[in-house]
């Protein structure tokens, strides 16, 4: 309920103004994406001549083909596709492992509480908020000692560790509102720790599982700091490859190829967002407003 119900309803001029302002903002928000898209389909000459808002006069897929398969990143000229698959190799295990750990943590922290459970949760939760600069130097050292420096495996470990805070937060908040009576009744019937989790809680957890997967997927996919700090060469994720491609100083800048590569890096999270936007929104809010 809000004041919205009557505001400006009586006033058609105010109503039109309201829509005009909202539409103007929508155009503003869509502009960069639109410019990226049209630029990625233009030949380079057209970019140098014309206006960036105009649609391509001659459409070309060449920038996309080049970005995917033959653009030079460093000394290697095979496009971003290898780095794209690196990101997939990192995202899938990192999301699954951190999600599973978070689900168990949330379950324990709400349904099997022990003395000091709040402190444990507080300590885990704080890890969501640390600036990652504080862990870069020791982590580089530890990855070296474990012989997983400069590998996608190393990045999986990093993302699992620093994903636990958020996944635990999501599941803990979700299970907090799950009726304790059901769990208590199952305990009285002699059901054990895992039986209760897999038979009672997990089937009811689909919404929060979706939220956690979307959140972790976008966070891990979009990561740049860990990728650039702990990998180099052909083990880097797509974000690092994109940055190297765009900010390399050699040769003529192929803006159309850069924009196509940026679209390649953006497409997975955009798809997830469009398909599951409603859950995404709900997840963002449960993660930040509820604490």
């Amino acid at each position: 309920m809000s004041a919205g119900s009557t505001v400006a309803r009586r006033n058609p001029f105010g109503r039109a103004l309201l829509y005009a302002v909202l539409l103007a903002f929508a155009v503003l928000y869509l502009m960069p994406l639109y410019v990226m898209l049209v630029t990625s389909f233009k030949p380079l000459e057209e970019i140098h001549q014309g206006n960036m808002l105009a649609l391509p006069e001659t459409w070309t897929f060449a920038p996309w083909r080049e970005a995917w398969g033959s653009a030079c990143i460093g000394l290697e000229c095979s496009g971003v596709h290898g780095y794209f698959f690196n990101s997939i190799k990192i995202v899938v295990p990192a999301v699954l492992i951190s999600g599973l750990l978070g689900a168990f943590n949330g379950y324990v922290l709400t349904k099997w509480r022990f003395r000091g459970h709040k402190i444990v949760f507080g300590l885990i939760l704080f890890s969501c908020f640390i600036p990652f600069q504080i862990i870069l130097l020791p982590m580089a050292r530890v990855l070296g000692i474990l012989h997983i420096a400069n590998s996608t495996t190393g990045l999986v470990l990093v993302h699992v560790v620093y994903g636990i805070g958020f996944t635990t937060l999501f599941f803990r908040n979700f299970y907090e509102s799950f009726p304790d009576e059901l769990v208590r009744a199952a305990k009285l019937d002699g059901a054990g720790f895992f039986t209760i989790f897999f038979r009672i809680l997990l089937p009811a957890s689909i919404p929060i599982i979706v939220v956690t997967i979307i959140w972790q997927f976008t966070n891990v996919w979009n990561d740049f700091l860990f990728g650039v700090s702990f990998t180099s060469g052909d083990s880097a994720p797509i974000t690092v490859a994109l940055n190297n491609l765009v900010n390399s100083s050699t040769g003529v800048k192929a803006y159309n190829v850069n924009m196509a590569a940026a679209m390649v890096a953006a497409v997975p999270t955009l798809i997830v967002y469009i398909l599951a936007g409603k859950y995404f929104l709900r997840g963002l809010m449960s993660g930040s407003v509820k604490g």
Binding site: T6, L22, P138, F224, T269, L281, M285
Partner: protein
């Protein structure tokens, strides 16, 4: 026949310890990789480490080198300018959009999706897009010229005095939708009774918002500011992608400072000290917030 006390004891003990056992891998990981690393980095900041780690105690040598560094001064100044503008503009614009969207708008879902989508994109992608958009000579400037506005000029990206503001523009674009979503959730959670009463009394809409609704959004303001401050202090990707910290050091912030001292200038000690400082600022902000969030009984 009853079960023997000893076997029941084992089962019970297992049931008693199992939950803690399941939680322990995560807890150990967090203790080591978060708190252990915090101590480790703090130790480096008091050591002689330069290009190579060297754990001999050096007192506050690295810290005084940090504070006498000219670049660090720029980085602190920039994060202050950037952070303040970013927090204020995102909060005001986010609240405004939320209030506008809350007026029973026909296409609310679509508009919300449009405002929020930048949040799903990587900072590297959006930084790349904005770098192109604001490119002096080819982007906005060129477009305005070709539309007939010949005298239009926009070269903030390469102007040392203005470059930090281009980062603010991109960062605001990225996060406003998220703040709007938080405020929208807050608006939807407000009790309607007082609003109805005020409406019956004939209070004008702006008064209802100013006197009744916005004051009730205090917790959302707090959350929004904490989230934004935290994002601002961590900002790294966007700056790397948009300006690379340049021109010169014009858009350096603590996060880019730390990275360059750690990985390209081989000054681990100074890098560690700057990281500890960043953590201290965030902790001063987040710990009281988390404490108040966790202490209150949940409604």
């Amino acid at each position: 026949m009853s079960t023997s006390p000893s076997s029941r004891g084992i089962g019970d003990r297992l049931q008693h310890w199992l939950p803690r056992l399941v939680l322990s891998p995560s807890f150990v990981l967090v203790l080591f990789f978060v708190y252990g690393f915090i101590l480790w980095t703090t130790w480096i900041s008091f050591s002689n480490s330069g290009m190579l780690p060297d754990y001999t105690w050096a007192g506050t040598r690295q810290w005084s080198r940090l504070w006498s560094s000219w670049t660090w001064g720029i980085a602190l100044h920039n994060i202050w300018v950037f952070g303040l503008l970013y927090i204020v503009i995102c909060t005001v614009l986010g609240l405004l959009l939320a209030i506008l969207l809350d007026q029973r708008i026909r296409a609310e879902g679509t508009l919300r999706t449009i405002y929020l989508y930048p949040m799903a994109l990587s900072f590297i992608v959006t930084g790349t897009a904005w770098q192109w958009f604001l490119n002096p000579g080819l982007g906005l400037e060129r477009t305005m010229h070709s539309l007939g506005w010949e005298s239009f000029s926009f070269n903030w990206l390469i102007d040392a005095k203005m470059a930090i503001y281009t980062v603010v523009i991109a960062a605001v674009w990225q996060a406003t939708g998220f703040i709007m979503a938080m405020f929208l959730a807050g608006l939807r959670g407000i009790d309607g009774e007082m609003i109805k009463a005020a409406q019956i009394d004939g209070a004008p809409t702006w008064k209802i918002y100013g006197r009744i609704i916005i004051p009730q959004l205090r917790p959302v303001f707090l959350s929004a500011i904490v989230v934004l401050a935290h994002l601002a202090i961590k900002s790294f990707d966007l700056i790397v992608a948009m300006t690379g910290g340049g021109p010169g050091n014009a858009t350096a912030v603590p996060a880019t400072f730390m990275y360059s001292y750690a990985f390209s200038r081989n000054e681990m000690g100074i890098a560690a000290a700057s990281a500890v400082f960043m953590l201290a600022v965030i902790a001063a902000l987040i710990i009281p917030y988390l404490y108040s969030e966790l202490r209150e009984p949940r409604s």
